[in-house]
């Protein structure tokens, strides 16, 4: 059973890539190097995990395409954000996160929600306000992480 499914579409100089599953030592990026583009828009929405050797393979893939290529990351899950914050070199100079999931908590419902945020919404490392309808009333959810830590990847 394949642990990772990768799809790529070409749109002019853009390459739209969606990744589903796990990036690990088996990550084979050879097909992604064919017909290279200038901008790689990568959707991480369905990515479950990148292990340590997977991170190394990911960096190798980016290096193969060269520093002139631009990488844009979309829909990054919580665990991938954690790794970008922790592992130096994971978020290369030519890569930028455009959107990502962040944990919010609704006290009224005692429920967690992963909210999709745009990187451009984060000002001064403060989480944007998110509200939710509870019994017909709008209630504010609490950002459920330490902002300074969670948004560290935006510091570069």
């Amino acid at each position: 059973m394949s642990k990772l499914k990768v799809s790529m579409k070409a749109d002019g100089d853009n390459r739209l890539i969606a990744m589903t599953g796990i990036i690990d030592e088996d990550f084979d990026y050879s097909s992604l190097l064919e017909n290279p583009g200038k901008v790689y828009k990568i959707d991480f929405n369905e990515l479950k995990m990148i292990n340590s050797t997977g991170i190394r393979e990911w960096i190798r893939f980016i290096e193969k395409l060269g520093p002139a290529v631009n990488f844009q990351y979309f829909n990054c899950p919580n665990i991938i954000i954690q790794q970008m914050n922790m592992v130096s070199g994971f978020l290369t100079k030519n890569a930028k996160v455009f959107s990502f999931f962040a944990p919010y908590f609704c006290e009224e419902l005692d429920e967690e929600e992963h909210v999709l945020l745009q990187a451009s919404e984060i000002k001064d490392f403060k989480a944007p306000v998110r509200k939710k309808l509870v019994d017909g009333e709008e209630v504010e959810m609490e950002f459920d992480a330490i902002e300074e830590q969670y948004f560290k990847f935006l510091k570069r």
């Binding site: 190394r56 665990i79 790794q83 908590f105 005692d110 992480a145 330490i146 830590q149």
Partner: protein
């Protein structure tokens, strides 16, 4: 009966002292303890030091670091990089993240384990598990599927969403370490360490790493044991505190760093040439914020090390 001298240079430990003294008086295990703040480092058998307190007293701090094997540092730091800096700088074998609910029992259990030259086990942290799963890894094939099987049936409803992904990563990194990095041949040379992790490795019968997962209403405890005992103190302090990909072949060199980041307690038991056991304890928390802002502890037990 032998009296073990414990030097306390820590505000946090001092606060726990009355309960500790009472509890240790009741302990009937072949030794008694005496807690004081004015033993010298030399005469003390064990020293509890508050990290921040000593950072302000440089001379005392430097002297303390000459006694690392009997040092237990205490800190309330929650920042993972901060904790790693301490470990890198001091190479201390016991670092307690304090102020948690288990501070008192952890210190008491530690004193007993330390003086009895024993190890902490998965059962130390999960005395009445609701579920236990155990698995031996005969080869490096299908690790991901085996991890999903291990997680099956455990109750994670009191955890933040996505905890299974974190556990999968912790298990994946540590199982790969046990399979590829632990085995040595008769000459003591590593057999698979430099191999590509895609290679299918079959373990020598009787030497398969064993993984145990225990859960109770409050905790998740993972133990991974290999039967080679080749992990060294130098390896630990070289790789654990550094989140940098340095290795070009074999592992990437950040596995231990990642799993410590995702755990609240990280215990390593080593009996050289016999076994290495890594134990990770994660407190169950419904809030991601609480999970990621808890104090961390690190413990390395090598009581039978030949010097």
């Amino acid at each position: 009966m032998e009296i073990k001298k414990i030097l306390i240079l820590s505000q946090s430990a001092l606060m726990l002292l009355p309960s500790l003294e009472r509890s240790m008086e009741e302990f009937n295990g072949g030794f008694k303890v005496s807690f004081k703040s004015d033993f010298t480092f030399e005469e003390a058998d064990l020293v509890f030091l508050d990290y921040t307190y000593l950072k302000n007293e440089e001379e005392k701090y430097k002297s303390a670091l000459e006694y690392v094997p009997k040092l237990a540092l205490l800190t309330a730091l929650v920042d993972h990089n901060g904790i790693n800096e301490i470990l890198k700088e001091t190479k201390v074998e016991h670092l307690f993240g304090l102020s948690g609910a288990n501070s008192f029992s952890d210190i008491r259990d530690f004193i007993i384990t330390f003086f009895n030259k024993q190890y902490w086990t998965a059962d130390t942290f999960c005395k009445n598990p609701l579920k236990v799963s155990e698995m031996s890894f005969l080869s490096s094939e299908d690790i991901f599927e085996s991890i999903q099987e291990l997680l099956l049936g455990h109750d994670f409803s009191e955890c933040f969403e996505g905890i299974e992904d974190y556990l999968t990563q912790v298990l994946n990194e540590s199982i790969l370490n046990a399979i590829f990095n632990a085995p040595v041949d008769d000459m003591g040379s590593h057999m698979f360490k430099r191999m590509n992790k895609k290679t299918v490795i079959h373990m020598i019968p009787g030497k398969e790493p064993v993984v145990k997962l225990l859960t109770d209403p409050k905790k998740i405890v993972i133990s991974i044991k290999d039967f080679y005992g080749t992990l060294t103190r130098n390896d630990i302090f070289d790789y654990l505190p550094l989140g940098e990909i340095r290795e070009k072949e074999g592992g990437a060199g950040i596995g231990m760093y990642l799993i410590f980041k995702y755990s609240h307690k990280f215990v390593i038991n080593i009996q050289p040439r016999k076994f290495t056991e890594m134990i990770f304890v994660i407190d169950k928390d419904k809030r991601f914020k609480w999970y990621s802002s808890k104090e961390k502890s690190f413990h390395l037990f090598m009581p039978n090390e030949e010097i």
